[in-house]
Symmetry: C2
DNA sequence: ACTAATTTGCGTAACCTATAAACAGTTAAC
DNA sequence: GTTAACTGTTTATAGGTTACGCAAATTAGT
């Protein structure tokens, strides 16, 4: 009957100690499989990570992988947690503002270093040990901020999501070097944007100088704006709830 | 050699008038294909949207579709813009705060009505006419806010991204009715969370009462917190830049 | 106008991928 | 030893996509 929960993903994420093993010794280990996928993604992009290719790499039949992983999506979740192990921890001597900013930047930098990360179909990835350690770091920076755990969790979630978007923009910009990341967006606008159809948008954009190539509008860090906005929001929220930090 | 740009996606998104057609009259129209995909997704979920199934629906061979869309991903982009046509426009008599809140809520509500929306592999979807109209609405609410167009664009992007995450949470919660959306997250924590390994996280979570089922912690709107945070951030940014709204 | 070149729409065949199902060999527990 | 639990393989099916071929329609050349 196996009243097992819908997913053994969690034990697999955490390298569950194999229970009462009865059958033959496994020739493959999960770590080995994930590592093979990692190397493949790193060297040939995420598209090279097919079950067949991974199997070939570890020397087994493609279907053998399914004894260790429920399906390809699960392998990719494991892969994404594996990637989190590559995040370099910023200094712990930072205030929550600078700390979180560095925390975000490290993630964008990782995406720049491993662009295939953004090809992962993430959605609602359940964090594994490595990602959870990264979240723990965010909580470290927030340690002196007087907010309930659930709000901190929500904040970390929002920052993560923003970071992902920022990473996408920067990676795309880096790939089409010298080319504006909004190139296709701009082209679309100039070709089809109809002031009658999109009046508010066009009115606002009318005052926009599209930033000459090679020149950065604000600082040399285009993500500064979004980051600042989010940090400001957190600040405002903290101040607003400064007095009511008593229990209940 | 056809120095054609990498993508004819844009013309396709905008229902490009077919130029100097030379060959036989098309038996299929793009709109017809997208509509078939839309109906399939609506009735049987996104997994029912396979090239073969769509082709069957419009009465042609699977490969015929490739004369109208580059690949399945492009079909899905068209589909996602088609879905944006279903967004009901909130009242225009709202301040920017309330307007943007309603704008976000409408998107979450759409996701609740069409859960398959969240299965779309979106990433960096280039907006089509319908989505652009929706963005225009956001700019309408921001019309009296004195910020440069690029900052407004960044804000809208951040709100969109947050909304998507919020939608995911609410949809998941609605699917596992009565069940905590963080069920697996919580289970993972109680099983594996090690205070030595994740000290900051566990310290913060130690003061967390996991909210009894059926009870909502804050208001009956769990998204209030994130929305409030973002709106507060925007407010703070506006105030900070209140005086320097002059040109350059 | 008539033909030929060209361009376009669609189908067939073939390949790769993911994965379900059935199978076979292995080992520990009884 | 028998059995149950487990590992990996073989086989089969469905879906996405490329290569290619034929037919239709439009344009050019005469």
């Amino acid at each position: 009957m196996m009243g097992v929960m819908s997913s053994d993903l969690i034990p697999r994420l955490w390298g569950k100690p194999p229970a009462g093993r009865r059958g033959p010794k496994p020739a493959l280990s999960l770590a080995q499989i994930v590592e093979a996928a990692y190397v493949l993604a790193d060297e040939h992009g995420l598209s090279a990570v097919s079950m067949a290719r991974v199997a070939e790499e570890v020397g087994c039949s493609p279907m053998a992988l399914y004894r260790h992983v429920k399906n390809k999506d699960e392998l990719l979740i494991l892969l994404s947690d594996r990637l989190c192990a590559e995040l370099p921890e910023p200094s712990r001597d930072l205030g929550w503002r600078e700390g979180l900013a560095a925390w975000m930047r490290a993630q964008v930098d990782l995406a720049l270093r491993k662009p295939w990360f953004l090809d992962l179909p993430l959605a609602v990835t359940l964090p594994g040990p490595n990602r959870l350690a990264w979240i723990d770091l965010a909580f470290y920076y927030l340690r002196d901020v007087a907010l309930p755990a659930e709000e901190k969790l929500a904040i970390v979630g929002i920052l993560s999501q923003y970071t992902l978007g920022e990473a996408r923009i920067e990676v795309e910009a880096a790939l089409s070097e010298e080319d504006n990341p909004f190139a296709s967006f701009e082209q679309m606008l100039v070709t089809y944007a109809d002031p009658e159809r999109f009046p508010s948008l066009m009115a606002s954009l009318a005052t926009w100088s599209p930033a000459a190539p090679g020149e950065r509008s604000e600082a040399d860090n285009p993500s500064a704006f979004g980051q600042g906005l989010l940090i400001a929001g957190i600040e405002a929220h903290i101040e607003r709830h400064a007095g009511c930090s008593g229990p209940e």
